[in-house]
């Protein structure tokens, strides 16, 4: 199903219109939250009312994405002076300078004879009076949201110099019912909360979903067959299967960066150990071997190392080992109990949950354990997941006695925001950029 969507649009770089490559406008991902860049996103033009509606919707999604990033401040359309009438006519930059717009986004939606639509957009550097980039997308009309996310990613990349993260999805655990009989189901949605739908039934409690690097598969834990078991869910076929046949319970699964194996915890008689399993050969490898709890493994993006949680030192702490289990060493030494480590997609940091003083915090540290920083803290903040560009962390937050909700925070510790979900929600996992 997803693949169909992916194949359903074509991208053409508007090469002839592309900018001379020395645009000046830039926003810093480090400092941008202090002074978000004012940007004008004009409702995209349309040749008929239906196309105009799509044009308004696309512009609305772009504005919401940019605003949510915390790095941009979309300017209200009421302030616009120039009325953009045609994409081919260069804007009157003076009219945009006067309202302090540093970036200007214009576009149009064109219905095609075969029923598809074409969406063109241009990004201008207002002060340099230049076009920075321009793209043309052809797609089915129901796919306009993904185009809006792709355009948002283009704008983010042009103006920050970093990869975007808007054309992504979140898989998470939807929670309903009283706490003693909570119903937990897998749900998937776009990064902005749109297009949510359930993947599993209310019958079996599920936890900890995670995407494969291809974004076509999800691995998660379910009580569907009684004891906790690692499952694989194929988003193309909507089929699910138990991973392997193990004597104990299996949980805390994650894909390797190449997608060919799963690393997970196998508990036998109260002893948790970390295993990996090759998905093609189904051969398994034991990576830890001691009487303590070893769980929550997460690969480094190069696949060479694994960070995990162990209480072998007396309390849960973070450890790193080579992918074959050799060279195990502790990396967390701060005050508190550390768990749920997740390696950043950039490789430079490890995010974690830290408990201490009756509070739970989300923080980051370097893979050698240095440079620890706490980003956010509350009664319960748990289970970080990285945006594919390694700039934003999503997690779940539960206040005392209330249900969990999804939140995101920038790597700077700023721009803390709740992600809208219809039900209570926990265990978010951010997909890579969609193909």
């Amino acid at each position: 199903m997803i693949r169909k969507i992916f194949a359903a649009f074509a991208v053409v770089i508007a090469a002839a219109l592309a900018a001379p490559a020395h645009a000046q406008v830039r926003v810093s991902v480090e400092e941008g939250h202090l002074n978000p860049m004012p940007i004008a996103v004009v409702d995209f033009l349309g040749a008929n009312p239906a196309a105009q509606q799509v044009g308004r919707d696309v512009a609305g999604v772009i504005r919401a994405n940019l605003d949510r990033s915390g790095l941009f401040r979309p300017i209200s359309s009421n302030a616009f002076i120039e009325r953009i009438g045609a994409l081919e006519v260069p804007p009157r930059f003076a009219d945009w300078k006067i309202i302090d717009a540093q970036g200007l986004v214009v576009g149009q939606v064109t219905p095609l004879p075969d029923g598809r639509i074409r969406i063109d957009f241009r990004l201008y550097d207002v002060f340099a009076e230049q076009q920075m980039t321009g793209f043309t997308y052809t797609t089915t009309p129901d796919n306009w949201r993904r185009i809006a996310h792709r355009i948002s990613d283009q704008i983010y990349e042009q103006l920050t110099g970093e990869r975007g993260y808007f054309d992504t999805r979140i898989v998470f655990v939807s929670e309903t019912g009283p706490r003693t009989r909570r119903v937990k189901r897998l749900m998937i949605m776009d990064q902005d909360g749109a297009n949510p739908f359930f993947l599993t039934s209310p019958d079996a409690m599920v936890l900890t979903p995670r995407f494969s690097p291809s974004t076509q598969m999800i691995t998660y834990m379910s009580f569907e067959t009684g004891a906790p078991r690692v499952f694989l869910y194929n988003l193309e076929t909507n089929r699910r299967e138990v991973l392997g046949d193990f004597p104990g319970m299996t949980f805390s699964p994650r894909f390797s960066p190449n997608g060919r194996s799963i690393v997970f915890t196998l508990d036998m008689n109260g002893n948790s150990e970390i295993f990996s399993m090759d998905l093609a050969t189904r051969s398994r490898q034991r990576l830890t071997n001691n009487a303590s709890i070893d769980t929550s493994p997460s690969y480094s993006p190069d696949g060479a190392q694994i960070v995990f949680t162990s209480d072998r030192g007396g309390s849960p702490q973070l450890y790193v080992m080579n992918a074959d289990g050799s060279g195990q060493r502790r990396i967390s030494f701060g005050a508190g109990r550390y768990s749920t480590p997740v390696w950043s997609p950039r490789g430079d940091l490890i995010a974690f949950t830290r408990e201490g003083g009756g509070r739970f915090a989300i923080g980051v540290m370097r893979p050698d354990g240095s440079g620890e920083r706490i980003l956010t803290e509350s009664y319960l903040d748990e289970a970080p997941t990285w945006s594919p560009n390694g700039r934003v962390i999503m997690f779940f937050r539960e206040s005392r006695g209330a249900g969990p909700r999804l939140w995101s925070v920038d790597l700077t510790g700023r721009n803390l925001r709740e992600i809208p979900t219809q039900t209570d929600a926990s265990d978010p996992a951010w997909s890579p950029l969609l193909p």
């Binding site: 936890l207 915890t265 109260g270 929550s296 949950t353 289970a383």
Partner: protein, 165 residues
């Protein structure tokens, strides 16, 4: 909608009244004296196990060692299980909310295993005891305070089959 349902029910009641035959008097027999039932659950039932023996043992924060109180409950469980050798049980390990999900799944598994191991050491066949961990996902007490957490850190012995019904 609701009005229609009520109206229909009323019509049905009227119809029932209309078709009821005249009551005819029948001779009454003397009421037998009530049989005195022993109070409490039926011996060998799941209720008996839960109420008379105790189906949960409790743990300290981040602990899985058995307290003397937990041991005495498990000793009663073992004696009961030996009296009813067809009973099979599931020991579920549970954790309070003061930990992350995956760690608490592992911790709950340790608690279930600690309870099972003690039952086995007391002579209950390991083949009769399954274990599972629910981590922090199935709290007994929904509140977020010390009292609730101490109750939610437990190993819960549930009868799966073989009990007197």
């Amino acid at each position: 909608m609701r009005k229609i349902v009520i109206a229909t029910a009323a019509v049905a009641a009227l119809a029932a009244c209309a078709s009821r035959p005249e009551p005819t008097p029948t001779p009454t027999e003397p009421t037998p004296p009530p049989v005195t039932q022993p109070s409490g659950p039926v011996a060998g039932s799941a209720e008996d196990f839960r109420v008379s023996v105790g189906d949960r043992v409790f743990f300290g924060y981040d602990r899985f060692d058995l307290t003397s109180e937990a041991r005495s409950v498990l000793e009663r469980q073992a004696a009961w299980l030996q009296r009813y050798p067809n009973v099979r049980v599931l020991v579920a390990g549970n954790a309070d909310e003061r930990g992350t999900r995956e760690y608490n799944l592992a911790l709950g598994a340790r608690r279930a295993a600690a309870a099972k191991d003690y039952l086995v050491s007391l002579g209950v066949s390991a083949a009769r005891i399954e274990t599972v961990s629910y981590g922090k996902e199935r709290p007994l007490d929904p509140r977020s305070n010390e009292e609730a957490w101490s109750v939610n850190r437990n190993a819960h012995t549930q009868i799966v089959s073989g009990a007197v019904s």
